[in-house]
């Protein structure tokens, strides 16, 4: 098995695995990183989104070889209970979820948006999250939470 190296949440990571494996199966399997969730396996729902470089991509549809030497950020790398990302704080403040299964991918898409556009409008947020599905109907709260996080980040 070839060894593939990448930076996972800022930590140099080496994996011995089939380079054609999906990034999601490597993250959730040998690396034990369960924040990215399996939803469809076909890049149709966004539940497994991670940031590669500065773009959100579906980990289920990203081959391991393609992230060699790149920076990969999962929700675990976004922030923690002790040191939360403004988006995580805002999602709690807005109570912006019901079941929360989709939310790790949505936080990632939102974080990628804010990296590229720190002052998004509501429509920008909706466009950035349009490939993420939420079945419980929490979308409006999520949009409010992303705008709240953007405001907080701008005020710093």
């Amino acid at each position: 098995m070839p060894r593939i190296q990448f930076h996972l949440n800022g930590v140099e990571t080496n994996v011995d695995a089939d380079p054609d494996s999906s990034l999601l199966s490597i993250l959730r399997g040998p690396l034990g990183v369960t924040g990215p969730h399996f939803g469809c396996g076909a890049n149709e729902c966004g539940a497994c989104n991670v940031i590669v470089g500065d773009h959100a991509v579906a980990a289920c549809d990203t081959p391991l070889w393609s992230v060699a030497d790149k920076d990969v950020t999962t929700i675990e790398g976004l922030g923690s209970a002790e040191n939360p990302h403004p988006l995580q704080r805002a999602f709690i403040a807005e109570q912006a979820l019901q079941c929360g299964y989709c939310v790790s991918g949505i936080l990632i898409s939102a974080a990628a948006l804010l990296m590229q556009n720190p002052k998004p409008t509501g429509d920008d947020v909706k466009a950035a999250l349009d490939r993420n599905l939420c079945r419980c109907g929490s979308q409006n709260r999520m949009v409010r939470a992303v705008l709240r996080a953007a405001d907080e980040m701008a005020a710093r």
């Binding site: 399996f38 149709e44 109570q95 929360g100 299964y101 349009d130 079945r135």
Partner: protein, 712 residues
């Protein structure tokens, strides 16, 4: 003069009557925690938080001290199934009553110990104190007081004005874990030595496995076992990737019989009406003074099969130890699942432990129970190691039970003034419930596939006393002089159906509210005024007035914009909900805004109620504009999100919710209140904008174009 009726003897709340031992609900630890063990489960609705609020209030402890225990057949009270918007109603009342009694038990013990009367004691965050700085606490007394005693009827919970937490929007206890990705979901759980399983299901509906060449699958590295039991077949591997690869290889070696014929998707009403049925008169009301009918309008409404389509495919884990098995599941009913597992496995229920772990959003009877049996069957070949099974997206979209398709016919007899004098409502539909644990036969999918198979359970309808099934919300809430409601339940079931949010409620409210809108329009009467004129229940009128007021009913006519109203009281006994929908467009319509007013009685967690209503409103919009299970005559063809689209962020309407708080009225659930009224409001708004009535869901571009062509 008649003697006044004696007031009825106090009764325990239903869940507490079924599980009266207080220690099965509440436990205090000397370290300062209250452990609360309800039988209802978290399915994304926030029940865990609402119950913690109730307990903290009644016991006078900080909510941070409350530890919530997940339901398990090993110890939890048996509260049946977490469904029907009954969690706050059933579990909440039981917890409130049990905690009120426990509080008294501790106060009595404290009074004995401290030598003062109960009336001078107060409890603050679990510390019980009296005059002169005398004190003890739940935690000190915990080991001295046994709660292994039965609850007694008549305990008096606090008055609504004395509650500190209920009625406040306490932040949900589970949300931090979910935004910080601390594993909470069953999908993220691991067990020592865990293996991964996959089950192979046919693409053709009802096809049987006739041959299986296992060679390809056997060659897959890290395969542990291939399991075959009749038409049930699956693989167990050391890793998930290996299980997927082995399943793919197994599929190549499989031969299947032809399947069963499915209905014609384009002729759903004709299909439903042509099937053998069991007919039931649901309700009948006869006018005291019959009025002459001048004319009759007759309308037919349909809704398609609707998928649960949770974002997560269903998942379960199982581990055998001799003839005992432990199951981890996101089922809505751990005891009910255990009953069915015992039937399939032919084991005493004592040999089976079923434990709940959270899954993704649950909107009814999805494959959570099916995948649990899959895991149990595959784990038999795992030599005592635990096996985790997860369905594929395609299986989740095709082999799950669906919400049943419905055809609804309403005939309204009108008098000379165009008022309704008689009303006939007829429903043709499969049953809306085939849940596990309630019949002689198991309801689990693999039970129909194994070597000595059980017949497929034909869905039934819960009785009206429990809210009904296909007939849910079919009895008019309006004061009409006479009516007859008939439900025709199909006794064939080519497409598997079971409980989906509202059961028949969405279809029936859509039909009733559409006809009312039409009758009001033809009379030239405002549809809000028309509804108010036919209602006597003030709570019903209040939500209609509140929604209409908040939406500035009725805004001036603008080209391409339409407004519509819908109203319902879920199950006719639950939450009241009225909604004004604002839509825009022509062939492609967009729902711009939904303005709702809701009355759930006492809202334990107002933001939680609003979250549920918003979610229900958005999900209903998705059902109305986009959703239908697709099929040809041999198979379900909507296997992915591409074939079964749901509402996206850019399509979601603004949603505004006004909550009418009634703290002295027992709480009811909110999760299903919005679906029917929203469906009707959107359809009525379409008429307002485009002058066409769409009576077949979903309201698609093709249907709008066809209706407008017919109109022109």
């Amino acid at each position: 003069m008649t003697k006044p009726e004696p007031s009825p003897a106090p009764k325990l709340p239903v869940s507490l009557a079924a599980n009266p031992v207080l220690s099965s609900w509440v436990h205090f630890s000397p370290e300062g925690h209250v452990t609360l063990s309800p039988g209802k489960v978290e399915i994304g609705q926030g029940i865990v938080t609402a119950l913690a609020q109730i307990a903290a209030d009644e016991l006078d402890v900080d909510i941070g001290r409350v530890r919530m225990v997940r339901a398990s057949t090993a110890a939890s009270p048996n509260e049946g199934v977490t469904s029907g918007s009954l969690s706050v109603q059933q579990s909440g009342r039981a917890v409130r009553h049990a905690c009120a009694e426990i509080r008294q038990i501790f106060l009595t013990a404290a009074s004995d110990q401290l030598g003062v009367g109960i009336d001078v004691l107060e409890i603050k965050d679990g510390t019980i104190s009296g005059p002169g700085n005398i004190r003890t606490s739940y935690w000190e007394l915990a080991d001295k007081i046994s709660l292994d005693r039965e609850a007694t009827p008549g305990a008096t919970p606090k008055k609504s004005t004395q509650r500190a937490l209920a009625g406040n929007s306490v932040q949900r206890l589970d949300i931090p874990d979910k935004v910080f990705a601390h594993p909470r979901f069953i999908h993220d759980a691991t067990l020592p030595g865990m293996l991964h399983g996959r089950v192979m299901r046919p693409e053709l509906s009802g096809a049987k496995l006739t041959g299986l060449n296992e060679a390809g699958a056997r060659a897959v590295p890290r395969l542990v076992a291939i399991v075959r039991d009749g038409h049930f077949a699956g693989v167990v591997s050391e890793t998930e990737d290996s299980a997927e690869a082995a399943l793919k290889a197994l599929r190549k070696g499989a031969a299947w019989s032809s399947g069963e014929t499915l209905p014609d998707e384009s002729g759903l009403a004709e299909f439903l009406k042509a099937q053998p049925v069991e007919s039931t008169v649901i309700d009948k009301k006869t006018a005291s003074t019959p009025v002459e009918t001048k004319r009759t309008i007759r309308r037919q409404y349909t809704r398609p099969y609707i998928a649960h389509a949770s974002i997560a495919p269903s998942c379960a884990m199982a581990q055998w130890s001799g003839d005992r098995v432990h199951v981890w599941t996101h089922s809505q009913g751990v005891y009910l699942l255990r009953t069915d597992l015992a039937l399939v496995l032919k084991l005493p229920i004592e040999n089976i432990t079923v434990e709940h772990l959270e899954g993704a959003g649950c909107y009814g009877h999805n494959p959570a129970d099916d995948v649990a049996l899959d895991a149990v069957l595959l784990a038999k070949a795992a030599g005592g190691r635990p096996v985790r099974v997860q369905w594929s997206r395609a299986d989740e979209m095709t082999h799950a039970p669906f919400g049943a398709a419905m055809a609804i016919e309403i005939e309204a007899d009108l008098d000379a003034q165009g008022d309704i004098v008689n009303w006939r409502h007829s429903i043709w539909s499969n049953g809306h419930a085939a849940r596990p644990g309630r019949a002689e036969l198991p309801a689990l999918l693999a039970g129909t596939e194994i070597a000595n198979p059980f017949p497929r359970m034909i869905s039934r309808n819960p009785p009206q006393a429990n809210g009904g099934g296909a007939d849910r919300n079919s009895i008019p809430l309006y004061d009409l002089p006479s009516w007859q409601i008939v439900s025709h339940r199909l006794t064939t079931m080519p497409i598997r159906t079971s409980a989906l949010r509202t059961l028949g409620g969405q279809g029936n409210v859509f039909a009733i509210e559409s006809v009312l809108d039409e009758v009001a329009y033809e009379r030239g009467e405002d549809p809000v005024a028309f509804r108010l004129r036919h209602l006597t229940d003030e709570r019903a009128k209040d939500v209609i007035r509140a929604a209409a007021g908040r939406a500035s009913w009725k805004p001036d006519k603008r080209a391409g914009i339409g407004y519509g109203i819908g109203f319902g009281r879920y199950k006719n006994t639950g939450a009241y909900c009225a909604v004004v929908a604002e839509i825009e467009g022509a062939e492609d319509i967009r729902v711009r805004r939904l303005t709702l007013a809701v009355d759930v009685g006492e809202a334990i967690n107002p933001d939680g109620v609003i979250n549920q209503i918003e979610g229900g409103a958005i999900q209903a919009t998705s059902w109305v504009l986009k959703e239908r299970v697709r099929f040809d005559r041999q198979r379900i063809t909507s296997t992915s999100w591409t074939d079964y689209p749901i509402l996206r962020f850019s399509e979601v309407p603004e949603v505004e919710v006004e909550l009418i708080q009634r703290p002295d009225i027992d709480p009811v659930g909110a999760g299903e209140a919005a679906h029917g009224p929203v469906t009707a409001a959107i359809a009525n708004a379409v008429f307002d904008a485009l002058a066409v009535r769409i009576r077949d869901l979903p309201i698609t571009r093709e249907r709008l174009i066809a209706a407008m062509e017919l109109n022109s």
